[in-house]
Amino acid sequence: MSATPTIGPTPLLRVLRAPAEAQDFSQGEWEDLVWHARKTRLGGRTWRMLEAAGFADRVPEPVRRQLASAFIEAESHRRRLLWEVDRLHRALDADGQCFVALKGAAYAAAQLEVAQGRPAADIDIMVPRESIAKVEALLLGEGWKHILEEEYDQRYYRRWMHEIPPLVHALRGSELDLHHTILPLSSRLHPDAQSLYRRAVTVDRLGTKVFAPADMVLHAAVHLFHDGEIRGALRDLVDIDVLLREFGARPGFWPALVPRAKELGLVRPLFYALRYAGHLLETPVPSAVVAEAEAGRPAATILAVMDWAVTRAIVPALSPREKFGARLAGILLYLRSHYLRMSVAPLSRHLMRKSIRRLWPRPSRMRDAEP
């Protein structure tokens, strides 16, 4: 099995690698790009890259309309995230509770390039585990409420996950994930959350903290390759690519990246991130760093399966043949992600519980318990 992806790069991938590619696109290629951009929600990012490269006026009008609209939409998400961060300071600062903004909220607060054209539905923050109860209570007092009412869901999250069950704001409708670390408690990896806090940096006048650059990249890698679903997640790989391109230009970033991954026990996800960002998006990574990250290389068989599955599943499939491959790859990766998140005993109990509930749904106990 070859190490390079067997599927030729789609027009979307070609633009994400080098926007200049778009200069010679045929109408068919533009159509393909629009389809993929919508499917992967990368229209805003694509537009941002074309504009920054000075090719915006080469884009056919109907395509421009689609991509520019996606960018405008993403901009409104960015404003919303910043507003929610502002509201969180209002809810938590007076009580002396600090939080670290994660993912989209962090990218927006730190004014990183990756926040440009990036749609984001939820706001994610992390607080020390011992502060969770206090922060949750403060948020519930500021108009946030629980989405999941079933007692089982509540217990499941609190016992096994790295976050409490999601909250929604009663008036603004925003969703908030409150984390106390970056991976499920049940997961096979246990990065030291304390260390992530210690290195967090303040990025705005409100005092908002975000992970240090290396930690931010590692979190994105962990999220994609160790926690979330890889299927259709090209967006998440693009986050990693754009972060690496921006941070990579800062002195001291590259030499510190792999050592930091080792310190946190996250070399495997970093290896995958560098490998697939390189393969699919041609992210420039110094060869010394690639060599260092070899420490995270899995056994040959596992890597061969991952190469086959990731390159198929992460990009949306068009033809029936691609769809079949993507589906199979998606199932493989889905099983893998569950295996990584939990050891077998609690996982089978959890899946059993969920299947039973699906077969015999019953009214929410928490709601019944209310007066």
Partner: protein
């Protein structure tokens, strides 16, 4: 279909409004469902106005003009026999009884509207119609500030557009004469709106 329009065309400021045009000038009537904007636009089409849309005002960021998106005019309940009597020459499709919105029928947009669907119009009047039998009917001048607030409420993507949306809406409201328009009789209402266009022509 509606969702596709207002969720993917952010180079327009999109208002939930009926738009008709006469002499190159557009009459924009933002209103909630049930306030009579479709019925009014059907009546105005009968009186020679060109239909741009009974649902969306697409205000361009580039040139500030209103762009047409002519689709069948959706009529509900009592409006159906009313328009059938008022404008018998307009082709109406079958009535669908007992839908989620009650009885619904659709008017075919006149051929002229469809042929000229690429031709935008300059916004001239911003009128907020409300079918109401309890208050005195007629055009009541509305301050620009109030019109701005009301128009922003009727927009699908004002919030999404952010600062650009504010500028666009301000420019749009500035270009228009602005009125509140409670009405209780279709013919009287249509005549009043017709006079707007005539006044403008006489003044010119």
């Amino acid at each position: 279909m509606n969702w596709c329009v207002y969720d993917h065309v952010h180079e327009f400021l999109v208002l939930h409004a009926a738009v008709v045009e006469k002499g190159g000038r557009a009459l924009v009537m933002p209103a909630a469902t049930g306030s009579g904007k479709s019925t009014l636009s059907a009546a105005l089409v009968h009186r020679g106005w060109r239909l741009l849309s009974d649902e969306f005002a697409l205000i361009s960021k580039e040139d500030g003009l209103v762009y047409p998106i002519p689709r069948p005019i959706g009529l509900k309940q009592a409006s159906i026999p009313l328009i059938r009597r008022y404008a018998p020459e307009l082709r109406m499709g079958p009535s669908f009884v007992d839908t989620r919105k009650g009885t619904v029928a659709h008017l075919r947009p006149p051929p002229d509207s469809v042929e000229r669907m690429a031709e935008p119009a300059r916004p001239a009047w911003l009128v907020f119609p409300a079918f109401d039998t309890r208050v005195a009917s007629g055009l009541a001048p509305l301050s620009k500030a109030s019109a701005f607030i009301a128009a922003s409420d009727s927009s699908f993507n004002y919030g999404t557009l952010g600062e650009a949306g504010f500028d666009q809406l301000a420019r749009f409201v500035d270009q228009c004469e602005t009125y509140d328009f409670p009405f209780d009789d279709l013919n009287t209402a249509a005549e009043a709106l017709d006079r707007l266009a005539d006044d403008r022509r006489n003044a010119a």
